[in-house]
């Protein structure tokens, strides 16, 4: 028997990822999220028909890792850029990949209005409760009491406002069909996150409306925790403020089954 016949390949690099080393820190959620997005695109056969919009944030270089067409957007404007692409190319699969500063601070208006228009776009939202790339400033999603370089002594609601739940905010809009929050801090949750991403992509393929998957994502570097401690922090602290699960689902998919 030949070697090929004796051994079955059960794990490999998704075609939607390039053969590059990422610049992400050890334990960073971005690398896991990249892999999940790539696997889902592969499984749905979407790679060659996809146009992606990366954020300005730690994932700004995502075009070095994702193996499909991508266009840089100014900080926060990914969903406006994606709208322009989708409206002129309705048959293309369009996705944005954005951090919390990008999607929920500077890009809030673009996020809310793209969602409200029911753009047939899929947004992957990485919530790490901090500004990673610029070195640990407060994010709109930073938890109360959490240290940040621009919130010395920790976030204080009277000075800095409260952690924003943008996923719940957009869910009230009729244009929004599917919103789910998952985490990247346990194997079980990572598997659930993949299911959610795939479903979100299906929403776009079925032309139902806007879909978003929020991923609670560790940033050990700026949380000043080890990767292991960072997972624990997501599971013990972060999920209390950002509970996991489906926030909105009007796809009717389950009903059909």
């Amino acid at each position: 028997m030949s070697a090929e016949a004796a051994f079955k390949k059960i794990f490999g690099r998704p075609e939607s990822l390039k053969e590059n080393y990422t610049h992400y820190c050890p334990g960073c959620g971005h690398s896991i999220a990249h892999r999940l997005v790539a696997e889902c695109l592969d499984e749905l056969g979407l790679r060659e028909n996809t146009i992606g919009v990366p954020p300005v944030g730690c994932a700004v270089l995502a075009y070095n890792y994702f193996n499909f067409d991508m266009i840089e957007a100014p900080h926060g404007r990914a969903l406006a850029v994606a709208t322009g692409i989708k409206r002129t190319n309705p048959d293309k699969f369009v996705l944005t990949y954005q951090g919390d500063g990008d999607l929920a601070a500077i890009g809030t208006a673009e996020t809310i209005h793209a969602a409200n228009r029911g753009e047939k776009i899929s947004a992957i939202f990485i919530n790490n409760a901090i500004y990673g790339m610029t070195g640990g400033q407060m994010a709109p999603t930073t938890l109360l009491g959490q240290e940040a370089t621009t919130a010395p002594g920790g976030r204080d609601s009277s000075l800095h406002g409260n952690p924003i739940d943008i996923s719940a905010m957009i869910a009230v809009s009729n244009g929004v069909v599917y919103v789910e929050r998952c985490s990247l801090a346990s194997l079980k949750q990572i598997r659930q996150a993949k299911k959610a991403i795939k479903k979100c992509f299906q929403v776009q393929l079925d032309k139902l409306g806007f879909g978003l998957v929020e991923l609670l994502s560790p940033c050990p570097t700026n949380w000043k925790l080890s990767p292991k401690e960072a997972w624990a922090w997501v599971n013990e602290v972060m999920v209390k403020v950002y509970p996991l699960g489906v926030i909105k689902d009007t796809t009717g998919y389950e009903d059909k089954k």
Binding site: G76, A105, G135, Q137, P140
Partner: protein
């Protein structure tokens, strides 16, 4: 009492100087290479009873400053190039509404997201008015930490005196460099001249409104004439520049900010070889020291312009010098910081007139 000498990073120097100059409101959005400034003020502002806000964007931040300024409070925002691009609408409104504020730009490489290395590529944006309308923004260009401290005071004073936004134009190197600084005394805010135009609530007086929309054609016409009078007065009274080693120079080097520091070392290198060059350093970029430069350039006969862009301040030098002197240009785009020896090669080539490093400008 002026402070004792402190070793501080440029961004932090601006923060401390602003507080001492009576700034009690800061709003900004993080961006490298000036994050240390909002970080510093997030801790420092509450100590003096001032307010610090990390806005949700640069657009929100400049408009928070607009609001604070309308009530007479000394207010400041800061950013770096792509963020300052977003602030232009607010700056234009404040120019039209005649509101004082200080805007810091620690320039980085562009266009677009570019990179975070020091750059001088926003000279046009700063000096020509990056927003809409016929307005000017006084622009101050510090060349070191002590000057960052001193010019921060100057910026607030000019802003209040002329009721205008004022910009401090540094670059990534100015934001990151550390040098010893002696801070001026904190001012007594109560000693500042009263702002009778500020909105304070109309108790005991007629209500006031601050606006830039003047639908009446004559009113807008006259408002612009009034603004121009103010700009003429600023040009007459607020010009600032510096010179070094010009007495016996065969070549006059024109550079501002970080490049002026590198140029000065290049001039020292040349002088060690017996080659004589001198430095002209604009400190106000608008108003540009046109006449002083014209006189000196005409006397020396050769001018070498060095900046961190492909030729922006160069336009102002050409307008000042015209055909009164030969003009040579050495532009380095954002990303690479040339060393004094690189600049010295340009200066030598310009003195020879061989155009081997940089290029000759035909005026």
């Amino acid at each position: 009492m002026p402070s004792e000498k402190k070793l501080m990073r440029g961004s932090n120097v601006v923060g401390e100087a602003a507080v001492r100059a009576g700034c009690r409101f800061y709003a900004g959005y993080p961006i490298t290479p000036q994050n240390e400034l909002p970080e510093y003020l997030s801790a420092r502002m509450p100590e003096v009873g001032g307010a610090f806000i990390q806005g949700e964007s640069e657009i929100a931040s400049i408009n928070m400053v607009l609001g604070a300024a309308a009530t007479g409070v000394r207010a400041m925002t800061s950013s770096s190039s792509p963020g300052v691009a977003l602030k232009q609408e607010g700056i234009s409104y404040m120019a039209g509404q005649e509101l004082p504020a200080v805007v810091i730009n620690m320039m980085r490489g562009g266009p677009g997201l570019g990179n975070i290395a020091p750059s001088g590529a926003d000279y046009y944006q700063a000096t020509r008015g990056g927003g809409n309308g016929d307005y000017r923004t006084p622009v101050l260009a510090p060349a070191g930490c002590q000057e960052l401290a001193d010019l921060t005071f100057t910026a607030f004073d000019i802003a209040d005196k002329y009721r205008t936004p004022v910009m401090i134009l540094g670059d990534g190197l100015m934001g990151q460099v550390m040098e010893p600084v002696i801070f001026p005394d904190p001012i007594d805010i109560k000693s500042l001249p009263p702002k009778d135009w500020a909105l304070t609530g109309c108790k005991g007086r007629k209500p006031k409104a601050i606006f830039s929309m003047l639908l009446d054609l004559n009113a807008l016409y006259n408002h612009n004439l009034h603004l121009q009078e103010k700009y003429d007065e600023i040009t007459a009274k607020e010009l600032r520049w510096d010179t070094a080693m010009t007495e016996d120079a065969e070549l006059l080097v024109v550079a501002y900010g970080t490049p002026s520091r590198i140029a000065e070392s290049a001039i020292e290198e040349l002088r060690a070889e017996g080659i004589k060059a001198g430095l002209f350093r604009p400190i106000t970029l608008w108003p540009f020291p046109t006449i002083p430069l014209r006189k000196l350039a005409a006397k020396i006969g050769k001018v070498g312009v060095f900046e961190f862009s492909m030729g922006q301040m160069l336009d102002d030098v050409i307008m000042a010098v015209g055909e009164r002197a030969e003009i040579y240009f050495y532009g380095v785009p954002g990303g690479i910081i040339p060393t004094p020896s690189d600049v010295a090669r340009f200066l030598k080539s310009s003195i020879k007139g061989d155009g081997k490093v940089g290029r000759r400008i035909e005026a």
